[in-house]
């Protein structure tokens, strides 16, 4: 069947106006006439068959003439060109090379067509020679790419050897040239990862959908790119070549050294974790304290991370590798910041200053609290409280503050030593130092916590009592079985006692509520400060710094997909597109690679928090056992 390329005259493949390829003789009598080359008229009614897409690496654009080697994806009708084989070559050797690569990469590589780059005056003989190659490397369809000197536009045609099965379909396809950067496509990682067939099970025919197939092809045929330009192999190839072989010696050394180092560190870490799981630490009061101290949680978290990083088994896939790298960078940054803090603290006797400032601050806080209580024992904000209850509560709390002050003064000679030792912990990382700070705040505001608990318990009791007595007041009761309020006939004495208590509670409620409100506000202040510290710790713990750095310096490494740019276009020539890597947005980088945080802090929704506050339930900065995740 003779096929005339559309726009062949304009392709500049020599003076031959039309190249006729010998085909099966039965097809000759009825050549399929093609419509004349047309400018892309809008709304043209011509129905082409599926457009053939030729993915061409930009690095091969300046290569000498030769053969196109790549993979043909029939589902997409796209040809992924991977390399150009230059003249001269022996066809058998080319086939052997392809077979080798195919074995290594398990994808079907083939010679897709010819590449012709006219540097000098076009030679007619070359054109014919290239035609002839098609008979040696039979491929369906046969691509013929041609680039002329001094012209930006290439010509390209694809021919089918056999007669098309369906009589209506034209024998020649429309061709679309898509340039891609081989290096970027090779190194980039698609997000979300397409469901690629396993490297073991996947054979050449298994294909992922669409563009993922292109990425997959390029990534798997890495074996083809291994030979560099200085190798004098049997077959000369033109493709992307990595630079900087010299630098990789250092990388190689580091790789060799990392094995034993990892082994040693893993052994040390396993010793530490074994020590930490010793039974002495699991006795009742100790285990309770460990679970409440954020320092312990942070240390445990870091230990887990380090164990994961230095585990001797190899990372299975890229996501695990990224996770390891992120953790390593986060730990390194953490330790660096910690050392900076350490050097700042231990220079110029700052510890001593801090210790000297701490006791007066604690005293001052206690004094302010005393003033607050005295204000509450009067008529705070003009509110009329129950005087007797007010006095009782106020004296009770004042006694607590008195106890607290004496405790602080007992501690004051040792505070500097304690702080000095605490400061040393900063070399374990800034997060550990911050966690210790949070714990110190918790310990120093223990009196506020006590007040809060007393106030909340009292208030909770009153609210619960009032709610049930209010039902009794109306002659109703809560039906537990049906989860509703039912009417109920009470006895006379029940009604009497209930109403008496109700009256008493109603008149005492404002006093309790005010104490509860004030101490809850204080407690919330402390919890907010602690929460901010925890937020900072979580930020350092969970920010994927390596991935962010990669996104910043090598945007193509993490790709959200591709984007196309239409290159300059001339009527009658194939459409040329430039395929670029679409980098992953920063928020998605963070979202995808976020490290798991410590996970010891509760996550209240605002409504549930307000509910808890109103009903006087206790609020903790750590997660309760029975807590439900909102």
């Amino acid at each position: 069947m003779g096929l005339v390329s559309r726009g062949m005259a304009a392709a500049g493949l020599g003076t031959a106006p039309a190249v006729v390829r010998p085909g099966p003789p039965d097809a000759v009598p009825n050549p399929t006439p093609n419509p004349p080359p047309e400018g892309a008229a809008p709304g043209s009614s011509r129905v082409p068959s599926m457009v053939l897409k030729a993915f061409f690496p930009t690095c091969c654009a300046s290569a000498d003439s030769g053969l196109l080697v790549g993979r043909w994806v029939p589902e997409q009708s796209s040809a992924v060109v991977l390399a150009v084989v230059h003249f001269p070559f022996i066809p058998i050797q080319v086939k052997e090379l392809l077979a080798q690569v195919q074995q290594a990469s398990r994808i079907g590589l083939a010679v897709l067509g010819t590449w012709c780059h006219h540097r000098q005056e076009p030679e007619e003989s070359l054109g014919h020679f290239l035609e002839g190659l098609g008979t040696i490397f039979s491929h369906e369809p046969w691509l013929q790419l041609c680039r002329e000197r001094g012209s930006k536009f290439w010509s390209c045609k694809a021919t089918h050897w056999q007669v098309p099965i369906s009589p209506g379909a034209p024998g020649e396809d429309q061709v679309m040239l898509i340039f891609y950067d081989q290096r970027k496509v090779l190194l980039s990682q698609l997000h979300p990862p397409a469901a690629l067939p396993d490297h073991q099970a996947g054979d050449a025919t298994a294909s992922a959908g669409g563009l993922a197939a292109v990425f997959d092809t390029v990534a798997r045929s890495e074996a083809l790119f291994r030979s560099d330009r200085f190798d004098e192999g049997l077959v000369r190839l033109s493709h992307w070549q990595s630079e900087g072989v010299e630098a990789s010696i250092l990388v190689e050394l580091a790789k060799r050294a990392s094995g034993p180092v990892c082994l040693l560190l893993a052994y040390l870490l396993s010793l530490i974790s074994a020590a930490s799981t010793c039974w002495v630490f699991k006795l009742w009061p100790l285990s309770f304290i460990w679970s409440k101290l954020s320092t312990c949680e942070q240390l445990r978290h870091r230990l887990e991370q380090l164990t994961f990083i230095f585990s001797t088994q190899k990372a299975e896939n890229t996501s695990q590798l990224m996770r390891k790298a992120n953790m390593l960078v986060s730990v390194l940054l953490d330790v660096a910041l910690g050392f900076a803090l350490l050097s700042w603290l231990h220079g110029k006797d700052r510890i001593g200053q801090l210790a000297d400032a701490l006791v007066p601050v604690a005293d001052r806080v206690a004094e302010e609290l005393q003033h607050l209580l005295q204000w509450l024992m009067g008529a705070p904000a003009g509110l009329k409280m129950n005087r007797a209850l007010d006095q009782v509560l106020g004296r009770f709390f004042l006694y607590h503050i008195h106890l607290w002050i004496s405790y602080i003064h007992l501690m004051s000679p040792f505070i500097e030593r304690i702080l000095w030792h605490m400061g040393l912990s900063a070399c374990l990382g800034l997060t550990v130092a911050l966690s210790i700070l949070s714990d110190i705040i918790a310990l120093l505001t223990f009196h506020i916590y006590c007040f809060y608990v007393y106030g909340a318990r009292l208030y909770c009791l009153k609210i619960c009592g009032l709610s049930s007595l209010w039902r009794l007041f109306r002659g109703k009761k809560w039906n537990v079985l049906r989860q509703r309020v039912d009417s109920c006939s009470y006895d006379l004495d029940q009604l009497f006692i209930g109403t008496l208590l109700f009256t008493v509670l109603v008149f005492l409620l404002p006093t309790t509520a005010l104490y509860y409100l004030v101490f809850t506000l204080l407690r919330l202040l402390v919890v907010t400060v602690q929460g901010l510290i925890h937020l900072l710790v979580d930020l350092i713990n969970s920010l994927p710094l390596y991935a962010l750095g990669l996104r910043l310096c090598r945007p193509y490494r993490l790709s959200a997909g591709v984007k196309f740019q239409v290159l300059e276009h001339e009527a009658g020539r194939p459409l040329r597109l430039l395929m670029q890597i679409n980098p992953l947005p920063y928020n998605r980088v963070v979202h995808t690679y976020r490290l798991p945080s410590c996970g010891c802090h509760p996550k209240h929704s605002w409504s549930s928090l307000c509910r808890k506050l109103f009903f006087g339930e206790l609020i903790y900065p750590w997660r309760q056992r029975g807590d439900k995740q909102d």
Binding site: K53, M176, K563, F564, V566
Partner: protein
């Protein structure tokens, strides 16, 4: 081939629709909004600075003035970089996919490419927006699990919000290309 038409958005502002037909299988539609006008910029800046100056005369704290300058600068940068979209482009390539690009006023471009295999159809839909009903063009994506289901609806020209007449132009062209795809099944 390239031509430019003038339309209006749902508020009555001017929009320019550029159509570029590269080939029968590749078309591009580019909707350009009017640029940030100097008048509104001046008005907002003056308002903020006058308010800051009013506060300054009350409080006599010069921090307010510097804060106002910083807020206006940061606000302007943020507005140009994250909010103001100058141009929205829809590139549709037969058998390859649909690409949507939004160019921000600062030059930042955000691109989304949807492969043709995932595209179920392109339709015009109605939505209730504030107090009126507007039309918008959207791309329906195939559900990978259920063959006839729709997994997602991706709206196009989200910031320009052109009126129905403009949408119909784009819709017709899109449907022409999508019709090719339907005429030739995926197995070639």
């Amino acid at each position: 081939m390239e031509d430019e038409l003038s339309f209006s958005d749902i508020y009555g502002g001017r929009l320019a629709l550029q159509r570029r037909y590269y080939s029968p299988s590749c078309r591009e539609f580019c909707l350009s909004c009017p640029r940030l006008s100097l008048r509104s910029l001046t008005a907002v800046t003056c308002t903020v600075w006058l308010a800051a100056y009013g506060l300054f005369t009350l409080c006599e704290n010069s921090m307010i003035l510097s804060a106002a300058i910083f807020i206006t600068l940061l606000g302007l940068l943020g507005y140009l970089h994250f909010v103001k979209i100058d141009q929205e482009t829809l590139l549709i390539i037969d058998s390859l996919g649909i690409q949507m690009t939004s160019s921000y006023a600062s030059g930042k471009e955000s691109t989304t490419f949807i492969e043709m295999g995932k595209v179920k159809d392109v339709i015009i839909n109605e939505a209730i927006y504030m107090q009126k009903v507007i039309y918008y063009l959207c791309i329906l994506l195939n559900d990978p699990v259920e063959p006839h289901g729709i997994s997602q609806v991706v709206p196009v020209f989200q910031s320009a919000k052109p009126r129905l007449d403009c949408l119909i132009e784009v819709y017709r062209s899109c449907q022409e290309i999508l019709a090719h795809r339907k005429a030739t099944p995926t197995s070639s």
